[in-house]
């Protein structure tokens, strides 16, 4: 352990402590020998890069995953959480990072599923359930009817339901995994108030966030994970933002973002007035050869939807694009690929990798016309193409015939990128290219992007990670609620400007 704070352990007894926890997934060591203490009346912030293992520890704490090693102690008592019930019975509740809700149940049922109040003959007492739900919803400041069907709510309201669900359990330990990621400004302030209230009630809170401002605002202590290992812990007042970043990353920032200066060429892609009925509106920009154009915004800003429209997945309602000066109509991914636009999607498991197919088949899927003869496969050609492109990305795998699902996230991403490079595109759109992948692979992906730009490829990089944008982009467009909220050249870009534009906060008067 790098930093430890001996005083804290003496003053209060931990409400919950984890010791020596390890967790392995096939191909990934998500956690190794980590420890964590949560104290009553205190907020512990858990920070770390994407994929550091934060959500994994939450799942272990709530009985979703079983650790391969280590112990859990609640109020000094060693326990095990074989399932989610056991955890909530022991007084541990969580707001999970992904929405774990049921679209076709009512709000109240979502809040109380698994522990609904019972009445006559042990039947669910619906009236009481709705009343209780109403109380909790009011408590978190959400204006939602308990009887409403969840499907009819917006994303922020759904998130409020998830929060209410966590609070419906009488728990001593409350875990929040990026609770503010999908919330708007007003709801975020209300959430902060709620955290204060829980603190005052003596609950132990674990707060996971990538937003440093909120960590410094509400946390009392911090724990840092790096690559599934402990990288530091202590009191928040004893640490600076820079120190935290160094603990998280383990090296200085520009080391990971090897952005080279590249000669920017002619516009290759021009988008004008692209609109969609519900997702984005009036998006116009152009992209030049050799350029990396960043797209920044809060999660849910509509960047992915815009990119998918450019790639032919969804249809825009208005607007036009030109490729190398020529008007182009893109109605399907096949057409987009034909015109040299490719898209490395955000959701690797669903949209990127075809799990179940071997690596080489993943790589050659969009380029089969190149490796086949009159529609008949030629395996040797396929292996050749796959080997060529995976080697360029320094893929780590046992064989090219291995199922892509057996690879770690980073290596899967490399295969997906290789797949697109094999089509020899002119424009490559990467959506959250390093989401959830380990540091080594991340650096490789970044380095490779730089190299591609050097070779004259035009890149659009959607990212929610500020350092990635700041480190890699030549120019950045900020999106907010489906609209363009600002555009900055590399020299204009600062973290503050981007965040303000993304959150819709006015520039401070100079």
């Amino acid at each position: 352990m790098l930093t430890s704070d001996p005083t804290a352990h003496k003053t209060t007894k931990a409400a919950l402590s984890l010791r020596g926890i390890s967790k392995e997934f096939p191909g990934v060591k998500a956690l190794s020998d980590v420890s964590l203490n949560l104290y009553p009346g205190q907020v512990t912030a858990l920070v770390g890069e994407n994929g550091a293992g934060k959500s994994t520890i939450v799942k272990i704490l709530t009985g979703i995953y079983q650790p391969n090693a280590g112990t859990i102690e609640v109020a000094g008592q060693k326990t095990e959480f074989p399932n989610a019930h056991a955890a909530s019975a022991a007084g541990v509740t969580a707001i999970h990072q992904e929405t774990v809700l049921f679209d076709d149940l009512s709000v109240a049922e979502n809040i109380f599923i698994g522990h609904a109040p019972r009445g006559l003959f042990g039947l669910i007492d619906r009236a009481k359930m709705n009343a209780n739900a109403q109380t909790i919803l009011e408590q978190v400041g959400a204006d939602i009817k308990p009887t409403a069907r969840l499907r009819d709510l917006g994303i922020a309201s759904k998130h409020m339901v998830a929060i209410s669900r966590a609070l419906s359990v009488d728990a001593q330990v409350v875990i929040m995994d990026e609770p503010t990621a999908a919330l708007s400004h007003k709801e975020i302030t209300e959430l902060y108030d709620l955290v204060e209230k829980l603190k005052a009630d003596g609950k132990a809170i674990l707060f996971i966030s990538h937003k440093f401002d909120e960590i410094f605002r509400i946390a009392d202590r911090y724990t840092v994970f790096r690559d599934g290992q402990m990288a530091g812990e202590g009191l928040i007042e004893n640490v600076s933002e820079d120190e935290l970043v160094t603990m998280m990353v383990g090296r200085s920032v520009d080391q990971i973002y090897p952005k080279k200066e590249v000669e920017i060429g002619d516009p290759i892609l021009t988008v004008s007035g692209y609109s969609h009925p519900t997702e984005f509106e009036d998006m116009s920009f152009d992209l030049r050869e050799g350029e990396i154009l960043g797209f920044y915004g809060l999660v849910g800003a509509g960047r992915s939807e815009l990119m998918q429209a450019l790639f032919g997945i969804t249809k825009p309602s208005k607007g036009a694009i030109k490729i190398a000066g020529e008007i182009a109509i893109v109605r399907s991914p096949a057409e987009a690929i034909g015109r040299g636009i490719v898209y490395v999607p955000e959701d690797r498991g669903k949209q990127g990798a075809i799990i179940g197919l071997p690596i080489f088949q993943n790589v050659t899927l969009p380029s089969l016309h190149k490796t086949s003869k009159q529609g008949f496969l030629k395996l040797a050609e396929e292996f050749k193409l796959a080997r060529e492109y995976t080697a360029r990305l320094d893929l780590r795998a046992a064989s090219l015939d291995q199922d892509i699902g057996e690879l770690s996230g980073g290596n899967q991403q490399k295969v997906v990128i290789a797949k697109w490079l094999a089509t020899q595109p002119r424009v490559i759109i990467v959506d959250e290219p390093t989401k959830g992948i380990d540091i080594g692979s991340k650096a490789a992906v970044h380095e490779f992007m730089g190299e591609l730009a050097t070779n004259g490829l035009a890149i659009i990089m959607v990212s929610s990670e500020l350092p990635e944008i700041l480190g890699m982009a030549d120019r950045t467009i900020v999106m907010r609620e489906g609209r363009k909220a600002g555009e900055f050249t590399r020299s204009e870009m600062t973290a503050e400007k981007l965040v303000r534009a993304a959150a819709g906060i006015k520039e401070k008067a100079a």
Binding site: A353, I354, L365, S372, G375, L395
Partner: protein, 336 residues
């Protein structure tokens, strides 16, 4: 990038073709098939007779031809439960044309066309309207056969021209029937389509991850539509053979075949949830089911008892490998 990250040479494959074949589902099926063959040969003196074996092939050839197309459809993650009803409708249409005095080539063409049209109808509902294929085809299963009932009611078509009899009763050479030849040809065609063409690769990609396939530039809807067409076409071909073999058409023709065909496909190692499976597997499953039926038949065991065996086989061949893995995992867990 640091120095220890030197580019590595990743081998194409770790296991040789032989090793892979040894561990495959097909090997298991070959073993079962051989066992069934040996048991049959031992238990009935009539089994090892070329004419009898030839007769036995009629138990599965028509169903298997549909099963090939169905296998591809299931690999792609869809299913068609209306196949037997397509056979009925196609047969009814042929009977109708026959009564109107058309000649054999026209009859065959009619059967195939109706098959393709029915497939297209399913395909449109599934791919254009985005409806789940299992429900759509439960619906068209009633609809198609229902139309046959409306047309035929309690009557039947018979009196097909004698030239028409060849498809279901003709022999190409010695004991080799026309149907058997068709079966072999289609087995080869479908094996090539699924395993050796870009189209087949797309089918696998769609079955494993339809969204990912779409994001990789595959025209998912079009591929699925073609698969429904092919399934309809094969049902039409089976209708020609069956009608010719029976020499008559009743609306109840081929009743209940859909479940037998799905069983054949699943027994052949095709994952009902899509994404994996092979044509050789389906061929073997067809042979096994045909031989089991025939073998039991020689012992005068009622068909219903054979189906117990087929049902057990279906569950066992899927359960046993899983139980085996689970047992191994449990043992490994205890050791750790």
């Amino acid at each position: 990038m640091s120095n220890d990250f030197t580019a590595r040479n990743i081998p194409d494959r770790l296991t040789s073709r032989g090793q892979r074949a040894l561990k495959s589902w097909e090997t298991l099926l070959v073993i079962i098939a051989v066992m069934v063959f040996v048991i049959n040969a031992l238990s009935s003196p009539y089994f090892l007779n070329p004419w009898n074996l030839s007769d036995a092939t009629f138990n599965f050839t028509e169903k298997a031809m549909i099963a090939f197309a169905m296998a591809m459809l299931i690999v792609s993650g869809e299913i068609d439960l209306s196949v037997a009803s397509i056979v009925a409708l196609a047969s009814t249409a042929m009977g109708f044309m026959m009564q109107a005095g058309f000649d054999t080539p026209t009859l065959v063409l009619t059967g195939l066309t109706v098959g393709v049209l029915c497939g297209a109808f399913n395909g449109v509902l599934v791919t254009r309207l985005g409806l789940p294929s299992i429900v759509v085809t439960i619906g068209t299963m009633s609809l198609f056969r229902g139309i046959s009932y409306i047309v035929l009611g309690d009557t039947a078509y018979n009196g097909y021209p004698s030239s028409f009899a060849f498809f279901g009763q003709g022999y190409v050479w010695w004991v080799i029937s026309f149907e058997l030849v068709l079966f072999v040809i289609f087995a080869l065609i479908y094996a090539v389509i699924l395993h050796k063409t870009n189209f087949g690769r797309a089918v696998y990609a769609i079955g494993n991850n339809p969204i990912g396939a779409k994001f990789s530039g595959i025209r998912v809807e079009r591929v699925k539509f073609i698969l429904f067409l092919l399934t309809g076409l094969m049902s039409g071909i089976a209708a020609v053979c069956l009608t010719s073999r029976l020499g008559s058409t009743r609306p109840s023709i081929a009743f209940g075949w859909e479940l037998e065909i799905v069983t054949m496909v699943v027994l052949g190692g095709v994952n009902i949830l899509g994404g994996s499976g092979t044509i050789p597997g389906v061929v073997l499953a067809a042979l096994i089911m045909g031989m089991v039926t025939f073998g039991f038949g020689l012992l005068n065991v009622p068909g219903i008892v054979m189906s117990i065996f087929i049902g057990l086989l279906l569950i066992a061949v899927i359960a046993l490998p899983r139980l085996w893995t689970m047992a191994n995992a449990a043992r490994a867990g205890r050791k750790a």
